[in-house]
Every structure is written in structure tokens, then in C-alpha cells.
């Protein structure tokens, strides 16, 4: 037994009120719950609430409301006025941060430490950042000098994943509203609650009815939204498989799309790396959010001459990770989001072991109820193994080695994906050379999994197209050609 035993430090769930059942948020008001299905707390499998499955009629109504709001008020509003609403939303998110953090942890299973310190503050930061752009779009360099000012597309359909429910909502809604678009958003079926709480924030901020509409449901709802003829642009974050089907379904239409899909990032550690910080970066890269991160550093590429030292330091560090009750402020790892995801992780790890990888996990006792997977390290992994090529989306690190910078780049790029990469070395020139040669949307140097609204994020290859965040992220939400003009953006 350790000398310094941390007593339970649970966050109170009393700060948030969860309704028994929820409808959709359309045209500024909630509809009556209908065709409901449960959303669970993945940490203990209890039912948190019933949410409604939106059919095509619900999607029609939401798109129509968004169109009315775009044409009637939002598309005509000055940027300065839109900015005020975004600032107001950002401040309300900060004021209600605890509520959002608790609700996100309950619905998603991620530790309260992360929702409190990462998800909610960065979500608010995205609204603050984009609020500032709302009245400065003509100066964002989006259109050639002297050309038309950038204009919104109109109605944007947005489909977001379960791994960062509120944060992905912010990544989607903030730029859309700042540029003068209106929104129909569908949260993931397993994590709809913070989006529904966000609907309340829209009401609280006095946002005009129909500017933001939220419809809940499974993939069928998403499909209805994506295929709806009244939608001008699609923004999707999720699996590559669904991303491809969206690209197919909108082919031949005038719809614009940005897709942020899967990843299999390499975290590359050279022998001159700051080793203790590199170990932290490896841990943060793959165990943050239980590894359910599209840009997770799931492949550790370590220079062969320091492989043993890095792995032994990593294992010692993992011995201090605390896995358990996500509501406990000292939990470092929480629950896997769903049974289906847990099964996927389990079967991929079994496949890795069958292919010859060596499996290791620190000693940790997992709760009996809920969906849990221990932090896992697979050593002796080769490029041909499934665990080196397929996205596991769980707390599982595959360890591979390399000998030279050229080989590191070749192995890192040898994937169907290209979302992110990490480079650990004290040599500045090598960082620049690596960043130049890595085919990934984000390259982190001596850090990993850092997110900031000012920084564009997006992928190469099967990781998708388009960028979110920063000045680049605005591009996807505007057009600079006058032909699609349906409202004034100034």
C-alpha cells in the first residue's frame, strides 16, 4: 500500500440538473421528447436521460428554421453585432463551466480533471477567438484585395463525435456563427447532453431563434442532415468510414464540406530528447481522454538506441496513472465511452498480441461496472501489424523503433492517415527538417496534444480535408464569389 493514499475527492454532481427526457432544439425552443433512446453514463452504465431520435421531418424543420434565421436576421446582421452574441456565449460558458464539466464527464466518461481543465476552457476560448473575427472578416486575407468581402454559405449542417462533445461543438458552431452562417448540429448519439445544455446557453444569450438548431439521434439523423437539399455546407468530425460516405453522398451537389477524420499519429522520440518531458508527452499523447482522440500519438517511434530506457521510464510513469471514477478529481483515466468502442479496442489489442506484439499494463483495478480498459503498451510492434496501421481509438500505445531521421519520417508517413505527429529532440534544426517532411496537419515539437483556437487543425490523406481554427478555419465557412450570395455578411 502506498504511503500517501489519496482519499476520494469526488466532484459534486448536484451542480447540474439533468432532465428525464429531451426533445430537439429547433427555432429557439425545445420540442417535446419523442421516439426516445437512453444516453448512459459509461462509468457505471446507469441511464442519465432519454433523448429523441430525429427523423427526416425533424431535420426538415430544423433546416427550415436555420434558413429563416439566416435570411431574416443572422445573415444580415453586422459582424460587430454577431460578435457580441459570441462574446456573450463565451462568457456564459465560463460562468457555467462547472456545470458543463460535470455533465460532460457523466455523459462521456472522461475524467473531471480533463473536462474542467481542457474541454470547457478551450470551448469557451473558441467562442472568444471567433467573436473577435466576426467584424474583421474582410481583413482576414480570405479574398484577394479589392475583391468581394467574404460571405457566409447559408445553412451549415454539422455532425460531431463523442470524444470531445462540447469542444467539437465549439469548433463547429463558433466559426459558423462568426462568419454569418446558421447551424443545424447533430451531436453523437452517446453524448448529446452538453449540446442540449448548450442550447440553453443560446437561449440565455438571447441568440435569435433558428440561428443554432440541435437535433439528436444516431447515424440516420446525421445522414438525413447531410443529404438535406437545404444545407449549403457540411462540417463533419468522426470516423474515416463515415467521412467517405458523406463525401460520396454530396458528390455532384453544390454542397461544400470539411471532414476531420481518423489518425494514427507517430510520436517520434530521438536519442537527444528531453527524456522526462518526452515520457510525459508520450503519456499525454496516448492516454489523454483514454486515447479516444483522433490526433492521439498512438504510434511511438523511438530511436532504437534509447528504446529500452524510454520504455522502462514510460512503464514506471504509467505505474502512477490513476484509473477510476471519472468524477474523482484525482482520476487520470476514466471510462471508455461505449460498449461498442470497448469491444473494438479489445479485439484490436487481441489481434496485436496474436500478431506477435507484447502486451503490458500497469497494475490497476478497474471498476466492475461500466466500460473500462487499462492503459496498455504494446512493444515489439512492426509496421505490418494491424495495431500499427489501424486506428484503435483507445488507451493503447504501439511501440516501434527507427534508426535515422529518414527512417523515422518514412515510417511516420507510412500510413493512410496524416492528422498529427510529434517530434522530441533538443536539436532545433532537426525539428524544422522533420516538420518539413512529415505529412501531417499538425506537427508538435517537444509537446503533444496542444490545442488552441488560433492554430489551424486538420489532416492529410484519409484524415480528411479542410482546416478548423485559426484564420484558415474561417475559409471553410465563407465564399468569396458573389454568385452564391443570399445574404449580406457585413
Amino acid at each position: 500500500m502506498p504511503k500517501f493514499e489519496y482519499a476520494p475527492a469526488p466532484e459534486s454532481r448536484a451542480v447540474v440538473t439533468i432532465e428525464e427526457a429531451y426533445g430537439h432544439f429547433v427555432d429557439g425552443a425545445f420540442t417535446a421528447p419523442a421516439e426516445t433512446f437512453p444516453t448512459l453514463n459509461p462509468a457505471d452504465e446507469t441511464v442519465l436521460a432519454q433523448v429523441s431520435q430525429a427523423g427526416s421531418e425533424d431535420v426538415d424543420r430544423a433546416v427550415a428554421a436555420a434558413r429563416r434565421a439566416f435570411e431574416g436576421v443572422w445573415g444580415r446582421m453586422s459582424g460587430a453585432e454577431r460578435g457580441k452574441y459570441l462574446f456573450r456565449i463565451a462568457r456564459i460558458l465560463q460562468e457555467r463551466a462547472r456545470e458543463f464539466a460535470v455533465l460532460e464527464t457523466l455523459d462521456n466518461g472522461k475524467p473531471i480533471k480533463e473536462t474542467r481543465d481542457v474541454d470547457v476552457p478551450i470551448a469557451a476560448a473558441h467562442f472568444f477567438y471567433h467573436a473577435g473575427w466576426a467584424d474583421k472578416l474582410e481583413y482576414a486575407g480570405l479574398s484577394a484585395s479589392g475583391a468581394d468581402v467574404p460571405r457566409p454559405h447559408g445553412v451549415v449542417g454539422q455532425v460531431i463525435p463523442w470524444n470531445f462533445p462540447l469542444l467539437m461543438l465549439a469548433w463547429k458552431i463558433a466559426p459558423a456563427l462568426a462568419t454569418g452562417n446558421t447551424v443545424v448540429l447533430k451531436p453523437a448519439e452517446t453524448t448529446p447532453l452538453t449540446a442540449l445544455l448548450f442550447a440553453e446557453v443560446c437561449q440565455q444569450a438571447g441568440l435569435p431563434a433558428g440561428v443554432v438548431n440541435i437535433v439528436t439521434g444516431d447515424g440516420r439523423t446525421g445522414q438525413a442532415l447531410v443529404e438535406h437539399p437545404g444545407v449549403d455546407k457540411i462540417a463533419f468530425t468522426g470516423s474515416t468510414e463515415v467521412g467517405k460516405s458523406i463525401a460520396r453522398s454530396i458528390a455532384g451537389t453544390s454542397k461544400k464540406a470539411t471532414l476531420e477524420l481518423g489518425g494514427k499519429a507517430a510520436n517520434i522520440v530521438f536519442d537527444d530528447a528531453p527524456i522526462d518531458q518526452a515520457v510525459e508527452g508520450i503519456v499525454g499523447g496516448i492516454f489523454f481522454n483514454q486515447g479516444q482522440v483522433c490526433c492521439a500519438g498512438s504510434r511511438l517511434l523511438v530511436q532504437e538506441n534509447v528504446h529500452d530506457e524510454v520504455v522502462s521510464r514510460l512503464k514506471r510513469r504509467l505505474g502512477t496513472l490513476r484509473v477510476g471514477d471519472p468524477m474523482d478529481k484525482n482520476s487520470d483515466l476514466g471510462a471508455i465511452n461505449s460498449k461498442a468502442q470497448l469491444e473494438r479496442i479489445t479485439s484490436l489489442v487481441e489481434a496485436g498480441v496474436a500478431e506477435g506484439a507484447e502486451r503490458w499494463s500497469p497494475e490497476c483495478s478497474l471498476p466492475a461496472k461500466g466500460y473500462w480498459f487499462p492503459p496498455t503498451v504494446l512493444t515489439g510492434v512492426s509496421q505490418t501489424h494491424r495495431v500499427a496501421t489501424e486506428e484503435i481509438f483507445g488507451p493503447v500505445l504501439s511501440v516501434l523503433t527507427f534508426r535515422t531521421p529518414q527512417e523515422a519520417v518514412a515510417k511516420a508517413n507510412n500510413t493512410a492517415y496524416g492528422l498529427s505527429a510529434g517530434v522530441w529532440t533538443e536539436k532545433g534544426s532537426r525539428i524544422l527538417w522533420m516538420a518539413d517532411h512529415l505529412r501531417a496537419g499538425v506537427v508538435w515539437a517537444n509537446t503533444f496534444n496542444r490545442f488552441d483556437p488560433t492554430s489551424p487543425f486538420g489532416g492529410y490523406k484519409e484524415s480528411g480535408y479542410g482546416r478548423e481554427g485559426g484564420r484558415h478555419g474561417l475559409e471553410a465557412y465563407v465564399t468569396t464569389s458573389a454568385s452564391t450570395l443570399t445574404g449580406a455578411a457585413r
Binding site: 504511503k3 500517501f4 482519499a7 537527444d272 528531453p274 522526462d276 510525459e280 508527452g281 533538443e426
Partner: protein
């Protein structure tokens, strides 16, 4: 658990072990430089982020009570002022003997830390209580004196009965790359300490970078220091969580390398229970439980004790008292 031998080692024993660790036949400044500069670097941003992350641990109820008592037992209760008098030192010793007159179950601090000329006074006041007397020496705090003076300063304190010596390294020599001088001085002071334990003050506020803090830590351990200590308390910044993190990683790695355990003492600027608990969390999660005793971890502090006592009273009685319910020393 490995324990450091308390038998006196001569400076030449220390040099022999150092040659062995470095794998060289002669200990030169070049050998020391290539060894120290071959240590992995410290990334400032990552190091500070890790320290801040550990600082968010939430320590409540029973674990808080344990941490408060453990922290009290690790304090080197310190007065290092030009205005120190016999009366002041005696009253500090009385405080160490009875930290909280309202609660006799309160643990005592580990040591009283004074200037060399106050050792005899402190020793007499503490008697056979088991509370150690630590003396700062070697031209504390600047260290700007000849080696002969530094050794005389050390011997003087040891002869007066000091159980522990807190020496300062020659930061000028360190920053100019003269590692051999720093090494020799520590080794000689260690020899002059005899049975007394040697704490080596790095004065990290003057070394500035974490790379320097790591190198100075390894140099001090190589030269035979029993403890590495952040600061004199006379230079800002004194102890910080990130610099202590670097030093805890150093002692952890040193034990792995040599089998020898070395203690860590952050000193200066640690005033609240909340801060002290953050340090204990860091000790536990970075160096490990073996360091969670006064033998291997100390706080150099003066006002910290009263805040720990206030928090302890609060846990016992359920209500905050106030500054007038702990004694001034």
C-alpha cells in the same frame, strides 16, 4: 531500500567513486563537462506543465491529515538573519519542541536551521529531544570566500555540535564551467563534516535554467552530498515546484545509477499548507514513497509551520481559528 553510509568518507574515496561513475581514470574538468553535458536536457515548457499538473491533485480528509503531519515532521525550522540573537534562537527551539501547546499530539519539526555561531545555543535548547541542529556554512549565502575559510566555517559548526551542514556551491565557478572546483569544494566540505549530514545548496535562482539545475544536482551527488537543496532563501526565485521536480528526477535517476539515495530540500518561499502538500504529491509520484520521510525530504521554512498548525487545528476542530491561536516564534 538503500541507505547512505554515514561513516566518514574521505575526499579521495569520493573522487574514486566519481571516476568509477564517469568511467575515467582521472577526474578532470573535461571529463566532468562531457558527463554533465551528456545528461538529457530539460524542456522548460514540459517541465513546468508537469509540475503544474501534479499541483492539481486534490488532497482531502484523511490524506490531508496525513500530509500535514508528515510535512510538519519534515520542516527545517529556520532563522537566518543578521538580527538573530540567543533569545530568538531559544524561542524558535521552544517552538520546535512544542509546536502547538493546544495539542500535544502535534509532531515536531525535523531540525532547527541557524547560522554557525548559534549552533551551541540551539543544541543546548533542544537537548536530547532528537531534533537536529542544522547550520549553514561555507560563507553562506554567497559562498564567496576561499576554500580554507569555507572549511573552517564548516568545522566550526560541526565542533559546536551541528548534526547537519547546509553548504552553498560556488555558483561563479559553476557558471564559468569550472565544475572541478565545485566538485572539489563539495567533496572537501563533506570530509570536514565528519558524521554530520551534508546538504548542498545549488541556489537554483542564480543557475536560472533547468538544465543547470539538473547538472548541478548530479555534480553535488557525484561529490558526495547527502541532500541537494534548492536555495538559500536569500535569492529569488527560491524553491519552485518545477525546479524541485528536476531535482527529484535527479535523485531518482541517481539511485538507479549508483544505488545511493540522496535527499531533497526545497527551501524559501514555501509558506502554505497547500504548497507543502503539492510538494509531497510530487515526491510521492516522481521520486516515490522511499523519499516520503524526514530522512530524505525536508522543507526549509519558517512561516510554513504556523500555517500547517492552523490547518491541523481546522481538521481536528472543524473550524478555522486564526493567527493568534498559533504562537509566534
Amino acid at each position: 531500500m538503500v541507505t547512505v553510509s554515514t561513516t566518514t568518507r574521505t575526499a579521495s574515496d569520493v573522487a574514486a567513486q566519481a571516476r568509477d561513475v564517469l568511467g575515467v581514470s582521472r577526474l578532470t574538468n573535461r571529463a566532468l563537462t562531457s558527463w554533465l553535458h551528456g545528461l538529457p536536457g530539460v524542456d522548460q515548457v514540459g517541465n513546468e506543465a508537469r509540475a503544474a499538473g501534479l499541483g492539481t491533485r486534490s488532497i482531502k480528509t484523511t490524506s490531508k491529515a496525513w500530509a500535514i503531519d508528515t510535512a510538519i515532521g519534515m520542516i527545517d525550522l529556520t532563522t537566518l538573519e543578521g538580527s538573530d540573537t540567543v533569545g530568538k534562537v531559544r524561542s524558535l527551539c521552544a517552538k520546535a519542541l512544542v509546536p502547538d501547546p493546544l495539542d500535544p499530539s502535534t509532531p515536531r519539526p525535523a531540525a532547527i536551521c541557524v547560522y554557525g555561531d548559534m549552533v551551541a545555543t540551539a543544541k543546548a535548547a533542544l537537548g536530547d529531544s532528537g531534533i537536529h541542529v542544522a547550520a549553514v556554512a561555507t560563507a553562506f549565502p554567497s559562498g564567496r570566500a576561499s576554500l580554507a575559510v569555507k572549511l573552517a566555517d564548516t568545522r566550526d559548526a560541526v565542533e559546536a555540535g551541528a548534526d547537519e551542514i547546509d553548504m552553498v556551491i560556488d555558483r561563479g565557478a559553476f557558471l564559468s564551467g569550472d565544475y572541478l572546483t565545485v566538485f572539489d569544494q563539495i567533496a572537501q566540505v563533506k570530509q570536514a563534516c565528519g558524521e554530520a549530514h551534508l546538504k548542498v545548496i545549488l541556489e537554483t535562482g542564480e543557475l536560472v535554467t533547468y538544465d543547470n539545475a539538473r547538472r548541478a544536482s548530479f555534480l553535488a551527488m557525484l561529490a558526495g552530498g547527502d541532500f541537494i537543496k534548492t536555495s538559500t532563501g536569500k535569492v529569488g526565485p527560491a524553491a519552485t515546484l518545477p525546479v524541485t521536480l528536476v531535482m527529484l528526477e535527479a535523485v531518482r535517476d541517481w539511485r538507479e545509477l549508483t544505488g545511493v539515495q540522496v535527499g531533497v530540500k526545497p527551501a524559501g518561499g514555501i509558506r502554505t499548507t497547500k504548497d507543502a502538500i503539492k510538494y509531497l504529491v510530487m515526491v510521492s509520484e516522481v521520486a516515490g514513497d522511499d523519499w516520503l520521510t524526514p530522512e530524505w525530504f525536508r522543507f526549509g521554512a519558517s512561516s510554513l509551520l504556523n500555517d500547517l498548525l492552523l490547518q491541523r487545528q481546522k481538521l481536528t476542530t472543524g473550524a478555522y481559528s486564526g493567527a493568534d491561536y498559533v504562537t509566534l516564534d
